[in-house]
């Protein structure tokens, strides 16, 4: 009855004579016959159940004789007791259980017996036999594995061949990216941005179909996927928003250009494209439609613009600056239209502005969706956190007004366009001037950061060889004006006209000349008598004002006057206050008559002076004149 895993040998505390060795190696010792044990042994011999067993004819394990008697009685009773054998076996089992119970009890009460494990060596196996056994079991395992693999392969093959399975897989994939629902027997999907915050009226419901249904009709077309989607007809095709910034010669807006233009790269979607691509294109069509609808609505609503925005068919036209117009066209190509030959006209699509348009609408969506929960719960819905705290924080009227500001998409894109146009314009002006003007060098440093509405550039004017004299200014290019801050803190605000910037830069160059000369005067010990950066004195010029400087040599016998004007250029006059006795031959003074100059100022031909640039020439002249 011992469990096969744990072998318990019951033995007496003091080793004694072995009574029995079982087949599993268990040894049963004869208990030492102490007084109490003897008593118990003797007690065991007493049959306590004798009376009962006699009545029922039940044998005990100990009473061998009684069982013999029963055997004698047995032939008489088989007909009477059909369950006799069963009963006997149960009885025997019962007896054994009882004995086991007693043994266990004795073992448990450690007064009489102590059990301890006997280590026994496992049965020694012969090596070849063992190997054979292992081999056999391995073969069995391999067989099971290969069987399984076979089955998997078969399943795989089935999956590939049976469209039903494939369809479900595809559906699962579709479900991961798109919203689907089941209505009766059809599966409907939603591709609109409504769940992402869009409030556009047009829905984007599509139907999911199994291609095997179609194939059953007759023609067998090898398809890439077993799932197909049916997109509503109004969302078919390809669409995009064409943003163009055009400079028009006349003020007349070119309405005829609102024809459909489709770049070759964006062809129509063929019928058997993968559903993912199909859905994405349809979603894009919907998005573009929403964007255009929004812009068109705003264009009609906004009345405050100086020139009204025009909405013609699929085109919105607005004036950015005089002569520059922005056109936003919804290009929706369904593939059914007639082919329009576009090769003659080049598309001037502004990708940056298109991107910002998309971004703006997405921001609107995001704002629609992101609505913080009311706090406290009975408060108004849709208040932002900032607005909620406005009361307790006692926000002023102005701050609240700023918070409530909400600009329309069209206004925002118009601002961005204005800035973009203005930025490119000023970039052109500065670059052109830097290339064309050699004498003072123009150097523009564009800021590494700029927003869509503001950017800044630092322009510095230097002369070659005199780099420590620097005239620098910051241009902050805003939406439709340029703010110029000069080194001395003066601020100029320029409009969008590029000539204004050009004039200003030219004026700055003139100022640079006079500044450099004043600086030279400091270095060479001359005395600056007057320095005016923009004097009204002088001849009438087409534009710009003259900068002039007047200075005296250290010995104050020579006076030099310098004028710089953006139109008439730079001029230099020299005057000798007292005629000097000694004659000199300066390379700058070409004739002897200059030596005895007196009274009137005489003009010096700057072009004939030696030197790399204007400042260098004057530097040299001053150096020479300070000695005379």
């Amino acid at each position: 009855m011992a469990a096969p895993s744990v072998n318990i040998s019951v033995e007496s505390a003091i080793e004694h004579q072995i009574q029995e060795v079982r087949y599993d190696g268990q040894e049963i010792y004869v208990a030492p016959l102490s007084m109490s044990e003897n008593l118990s042994k003797l007690a065991h011999k007493i049959d306590f159940y004798k009376d009962e067993s006699e009545e029922k004819g039940k044998p005990t394990s100990e009473g061998e004789k009684e069982s013999d008697e029963e055997k004698v009685l047995a032939p008489f009773q088989p007909s009477l007791w059909p369950w006799d054998s069963v009963r006997n076996k149960l009885k025997a089992a019962y007896t054994e259980i009882s004995v086991l119970y007693d043994v266990l009890n004795i073992v448990k009460e450690k007064h009489y017996m102590v059990t301890d494990p006997v280590n026994q060596d496992g049965p020694e196996l012969k090596a070849p036999l063992q190997m054979l056994a292992k081999k056999r079991s391995l073969v069995a395992a391999a067989h099971i594995l290969s069987n399984g693999a076979e089955r998997l392969k078969r399943v795989q093959n089935e999956m590939a061949s049976v469209t039903q399975e494939n369809f479900l897989m595809e559906l699962l994939k579709l479900r991961k990216n798109w919203r689907l629902k089941k209505v009766h027997n059809t599966i409907l999907g939603e591709l609109s941005y409504k769940s992402a915050g869009s409030r556009f009226w047009q829905g984007g419901t599509f139907e999911v179909l199994k291609t095997s249904d179609l194939a059953a009709e007759g023609e067998i077309v090898p398809r890439k996927s077993s799932l197909d989607v049916i997109i509503p007809s109004e969302l078919e095709g390809v669409a995009y928003i064409l943003v163009e910034v055009k400079s028009v010669v006349s003020d007349l807006m070119n309405i005829t250009s609102a024809t459909l233009k489709m770049p070759s790269s964006l062809g129509p979607v063929s019928a058997d494209t993968y559903w993912q691509l199909k859905l994405e294109t349809a979603q894009n069509v919907l998005f573009c439609k929403e964007l255009f609808a929004q812009l068109a609505r705003e264009a009609v609503q906004i009345k405050k613009a100086s020139t009204p925005h025009m909405v013609v068919g699929n085109q919105i036209l607005t004036n950015v600056f005089p002569g520059v117009q922005l056109s936003i066209v919804l290009c929706h190509h369904t593939g059914k239209e007639k082919k329009v030959n576009l090769s003659s006209e080049k598309l001037e699509h502004n990708h940056v502005l298109e991107h910002s348009l998309h971004q703006l609408l997405r921001e609107v969506h995001d704002r629609n969706l992101k609505c913080s929960a009311p706090h406290p719960v009975n408060a108004m819905l849709g208040m932002t956190r900032k607005r909620r705290l406005a009361g307790p924080r006692a926000m002023s009227r102005q701050e609240l007004m700023e918070m409530g500001e909400n600009e329309s998409l069209l206004e925002q894109i118009l601002k961005q366009t204005k800035h973009a146009v203005l930025r490119i314009r000023s970039m052109h002006v500065i670059d052109q001037m830097a290339v064309s003007i050699q004498d003072p060098q123009l150097c523009a440093h564009w800021s590494c950061l700029n927003s869509s509405l503001e950017s800044s550039v630092r322009v510095s004017v230097t002369s070659y060889g005199y780099e420590s004299i620097r005239t620098s200014l910051v241009l902050t290019i805003g939406i439709d004006l340029i703010r110029v801050v000069m080194k001395d803190g003066r601020v100029c605000t320029l409009s969008f006209e590029e000539t204004e910037l050009r004039d200003l830069l030219q004026w700055q160059i003139c100022q640079h000349h006079t500044h450099s000369i004043q600086h030279l005067a400091k270095v060479q010990g001359w005395q600056v008598l007057s320095g005016i950066v923009s004097s009204g004195f002088g001849d009438m010029e087409a534009y710009g004002t003259t900068s002039n400087v007047l200075m005296a040599s250290p010995r104050s016998n020579v006076i030099v006057s310098f004028h710089s004007n953006p139109v008439s250029g730079s001029k230099l006059w020299v005057k000798k206050v007292e005629p000097s006795i000694e004659t000199h031959h300066s390379p700058a003074v070409t004739a002897n008559k200059w030596a005895s100059l007196s009274g009137e100022f005489q003009e010096v031909n700057l072009q004939l002076l030696e030197g790399r640039n204007l400042v260098g020439k004057i530097d040299m002249l001053m150096a020479r004149l300070s000695l005379s």
């Binding site: 932002t384 800021s447 590494c448 780099e467 803190g489 003066r490």
Partner: protein, 344 residues
């Protein structure tokens, strides 16, 4: 000059001696080729001549003349061959002696001529017979002297000008290249550690103001400065050069609603809009690409001058308000407050 002339005389003398030597040698060879027949009566006369013409060059010349005169009557005593032979040998001996004498003379004068300065190849020019008539050599010599002098003077000028602080350029072409090497471009590409270090030093230097900086877009540090309880400024740095300045009031913020830094929006107050313009101008003034840390330091110092924006009167007019504005200008040098219209 005097020395030069004596030199020239000596040279002239030695040239003369050389001529004489050549003549004497020529005479010896001539005598030898003539043989016995022509020399009869010579020895006696020769003896006399030789005795007298040893020292003086001019007499020597006369002696040779005499010799030619005496060649005429040589046939008169032709019998005495032995005598003749002896005489010829004697004459030869005499003339050889003259040669050696003249040669030693030449050597003596030659030794007196001072060594001529070496002008490398230019010396050879003088030897060229074609150029003898041109003046190239002397001109070259003169220009050489000029350049030498100019070099000396320009060296002195450099040292004097080097002490002059009013330089006209910082271009490396005109200044010491070695000095500028290494920090020419550092203003724009200063590593972040350098910028951080510079800014933390600034933070310590100005206890009244609070500096924080972040890099929202990577490389460019956006520095936020709070000056007292008066104003807040944001300064965008590219490396260590100032790119963008914005000033706002103390109660305004540089954060957008979603907590990101906003460097674009302007202050709603006119005072700070004006200050922003002034700060932009100051960023142009405090611009030193060679010393970027100094530039930013002085800019921050200047900005710090606005801590008393509302509490000090204008230095010029003595008033607080002008056009309803406080003195919004601080002088670049001494940071004294002025109104925008009072500073000129």
């Amino acid at each position: 000059m005097n020395k030069d002339t004596t030199q020239a005389e000596l040279i002239f003398q030695s040239i003369h001696l050389i001529q004489k030597l050549r003549h004497d040698v020529g005479q010896v060879f001539k005598d030898l080729s003539d043989g016995i027949s022509e020399y009869i009566e010579e020895p006696a006369e020769k003896d006399e001549n030789d005795g007298g013409s040893n020292k003086d060059v001019s007499k020597d010349k006369a002696a040779t003349q005499d010799q030619k005169d005496t060649t005429g009557p040589s046939h008169e005593k032709s019998e005495e061959h032995h005598e003749k032979h002896r005489a010829i040998l004697k004459t030869l001996k005499k003339s050889l002696e003259t040669i050696s004498h003249d040669f030693s003379d030449l050597e003596k004068t030659g030794a007196n001529i001072g060594p001529v300065q070496m002008f490398s190849n230019i010396d050879n020019l003088s030897l060229d017979p074609v150029d003898k008539n041109t003046v190239t050599h002397s001109q070259l010599l003169q220009s050489y002297k000029w350049t030498n002098k100019m070099h000396e003077l320009s060296d002195q000028a450099v040292t004097i000008l080097g002490q002059n602080t009013l330089k006209r350029t910082q271009s490396p072409k005109f200044t010491n290249v070695k000095k500028l090497k290494g920090n020419t471009l550092s203003a724009w590409v200063a590593p972040q550690q350098t910028v951080d270090q510079c800014l933390s030093v600034l933070n310590q230097d100005h206890p009244g103001s609070n500096f924080t900086w972040s890099r929202p877009l990577g490389g460019c540090a956006a520095l936020q400065i709070e000056i007292g309880k008066t104003l807040k400024a944001v300064v965008v740095l590219r490396g260590l050069t100032i790119e963008w300045v914005k000033i706002k009031g103390f109660d305004e913020t540089f954060k957008t609603d979603d907590g990101q830094i906003d460097i674009w929006s302007s202050s709603r107050y006119q005072v700070f809009q004006k200050l922003t313009h002034h700060a932009e101008a100051a960023s142009l003034h405090y611009y030193a690409p060679t010393k970027p840390d100094l530039a930013i330091k002085s800019f921050v110092m200047w900005l710090h001058g606005f801590s008393n924006l509302f509490s000090v009167p204008c230095q010029k007019c003595g008033k607080y308000l002008q056009n309803n504005m406080p003195p919004t200008w601080r002088d670049y040098r001494n940071r004294k407050p002025f109104h925008d219209v009072c500073r000129m």
